[in-house]
């Protein structure tokens, strides 16, 4: 892995507020190769904003700056807006959190999939439809011929997220960002979805960034973990070493994970220290 797939150096995202600019991502650096990288951190620590900044989808009036932001050796900061748009979906894609909101409610699943195929592969209508059915089959949706005709409100959340994964993988991207892809779903569906995701990502040799609240899940699923705190990365370590994390914040997060069969008087309070984000 000489050149990493994604290289981020000193990424910053700021929103103008009452007292000037408020930085929500404050100089983050990491790389992603053809591997599975987990991002954990409490709510508001800037995980989603980091993912969106990579895709150039920070809503106005947000501002993004980076010392270095390259994808497969290509400098993203130098690209024209049109070229950046063309990179989206085709080479970097993202699975969003809740399929109930992230799928267009007035278009059929088939139309939303076919649209992606037609956009990136210039296929005919019939061909796009055939490929959509194949794609749904690949994410283990039963009876895809029927599902392409359904609207998002007519399918379950788990099925919706599978369709979303199929849609985002349709153009054959090299990197997939998954922003809490299962946190809006039942725990029973979660394992299946992640397994499918893993299967496809491994088969295609893609890079995956998995954002999650769930430390156990990340430890089991990913190769490497980045721990976010207040817009910074406070610790980066191999997933299997997560239990031995040295940073007090990561230790605090771990201590908050409820264990089966364990009895607690009260939940521990997460320790926070502004100085961790200052360094």
């Amino acid at each position: 892995m000489s050149t990493p797939l994604l290289e981020v150096r000193g990424l910053r995202v700021a929103f103008p507020g009452q007292e000037g600019l408020r930085e929500v991502v404050r100089g983050i650096s990491f790389t992603v190769g053809c591997e599975k990288v987990g991002i954990v951190g409490e709510s508001g620590s800037g995980k989603s904003m980091t993912a969106r900044a990579i895709l150039d989808l920070i809503p106005p009036p947000g501002r993004v700056s980076a010392d270095r932001l390259t994808f497969a050796g290509q400098d993203l900061t130098r690209l024209k807006p049109g070229e950046r748009t063309r990179l989206r979906g085709r080479r970097i894609a993202m699975v969003l959190q809740d399929p109930r909101h992230a799928l267009n409610p007035v278009m059929t699943i088939g139309a939303q999939l076919a649209e992606t195929f037609r956009l990136h592969h210039r296929l005919s209508r019939g061909e796009a439809r055939r490929r959509s059915i194949e794609a749904l089959d690949a994410v283990h949706i039963r009876d895809p011929e029927r599902v392409v005709r359904l609207y998002p409100h007519e399918i379950s959340g788990g099925m919706g997220q599978r369709a979303m994964i199929a849609m985002m993988l349709a153009p054959g991207p090299e990197l997939l960002l998954a922003d809490e892809p299962t946190s809006a779903l039942d725990a029973t569906v979660e394992a299946g979805i992640l397994e499918t995701l893993d299967e496809l990502v491994t088969a295609r040799g893609m890079g995956l960034v998995l954002v999650s609240h769930d430390l156990d899940l990340v430890a089991a699923f990913c190769d490497r973990v980045l721990v976010f705190y207040a817009g910074r990365i406070v610790e980066e370590l191999p997933a299997r070493d997560l239990a031995q994390a040295r940073h007090p914040y990561t230790q605090g997060l771990l201590a908050c994970v409820p264990r089966l069969g364990e009895r607690r008087r009260e939940l521990p309070v997460l320790r926070r220290d502004p100085s961790w984000a200052a360094s």
Partner: protein
């Protein structure tokens, strides 16, 4: 893996089962409820118009027999009109007459009111339709532009333009328009629907001047009708544009932050498609209501505009009838307007179900 997939699949199946079975029954139920609600609304409309007719301080006999008729003539006329019957009998009589399409005779023209309305309504219909077309064709893109350039100068300009449409009186706009574009610049034709030169050579087939002149194959007359129509239609179109722009803008703004919009962008769709296919598809339902409302409003007959432009439409008809205390004509026209309103509501209800899969 197989287990999880099974679960997802089953969840989907159980959701779809009642869909296949109940589709026909739901459709029937819908049609039935629509019929019931239309019947009730029309009944309510007739009750209201009937009692307005009894309550207003206009002597219905006055218009029939004049103010110098001897007492026995008045009594005879009252009996003929059924005015001596108890109120509920009068209402039943009114109801049965209306249902048979008998709206009474206009005192002013001596013609059945329906015949009069059939003559005046097309002018209003033509004006309102062209105005609404202008309002939609300009208002929707302007609203979209304002929303996508939220807070920037384009947005500010469009907001001022829309606000002016709300606050400037329409008769003033009409007068200034006539002064500038007709009297000064001579770009458009003056008041009326068509030049007297063509007035009697055009066979009134549909009553819509643009269509009738085309049917007659008279291009000069068509152009003349067009230049007569364009100014009043623009004035009313501006009114409709102001409303449609404002609604489109706020509907778009509410929708732009939604997750599915981000998802569409993530897929790599160009912004043009994100806006016009995904976002617009989602605001279609409230947008249809907006357009239907503004159309219905214009169909009532824009009284002031029709007066300023001497446009022989429903608004003008009602005003003239009011001034001559011709209550039969006023109420007849009111019923027609009410029916148009109900019809448009029905149409936009119908369009919902076509546009929004969740409403099916």
């Amino acid at each position: 893996m197989a287990v999880a997939s099974e679960q997802d699949g089953l969840a989907g199946l159980t959701e779809e089962e009642p869909r296949a079975h109940g589709a026909l029954r739901r459709l029937l139920g819908r049609v039935l409820s629509v019929i019931v609600s239309v019947v009730l609304t029309v009944f309510g409309l007739l009750v209201v118009t009937f009692f307005i007719g009894r309550v207003v301080p206009v002597d219905p006999l006055l218009a029939v027999v004049g103010d110098r008729a001897p007492e026995h003539v008045r009594v005879q006329a009252a009996v003929e009109l059924g005015l001596d019957l108890p109120l509920w009998r009068q209402f039943l009589r009114y109801l049965s007459e209306i249902l048979q399409g008998d709206f009474g005779n206009s005192v002013l023209s001596g013609q059945p009111v329906l015949t009069d309305i059939a003559r005046f309504f097309p002018a209003t219909l033509e004006l309102a339709t062209v105005a609404t077309l202008i309002g939609v064709c300009l208002g929707v893109p302007l609203g979209v532009l304002a929303a996508t350039r939220h807070g920037r100068w384009q947005d500010q300009v469009i907001r001022v333009v829309a606000l002016a449409g709300y606050s400037v009186p329409v008769f003033w706009l009409g007068l200034v328009g006539l002064l500038v574009f007709y009297a000064e610049l001579g770009w458009v034709a003056g008041p009326g629907r068509i030049d007297v030169v063509y007035e009697y050579s055009i066979e009134p087939v549909t009553g819509l001047m643009l269509v009738d002149t085309l049917l007659a194959g008279d291009h000069a007359a068509f152009l003349d009708a067009f230049w007569h129509l364009i100014l009043p239609a623009s004035v009313l179109g501006y009114l409709s544009l102001a409303y449609i722009t404002r609604m489109t803008r706020s509907l778009m703004l509410a929708e732009l932050g939604q997750e599915y919009v981000i998802a569409a962008r993530v897929k790599g769709l160009p912004e043009r498609l994100v806006i016009w296919r995904h976002v617009l598809g989602n605001i279609m339902v409230p947008l249809i209501t907006t357009v239907a409302l503004s159309y219905a409003y214009l169909l009532e007959g824009a009284v002031l505009t029709e007066t300023v432009f001497a446009w022989p439409g429903l608004g003008l008809y009602i005003t003239q009838s009011l001034f001559s205390a011709d209550l039969t004509a006023v109420l007849g026209a009111t019923i027609v307007i009410g029916l148009v309103f109900i019809g448009l509501n029905l149409l936009s209800d119908l369009l919902y179900t076509l546009v929004d899969p969740r409403a099916r």
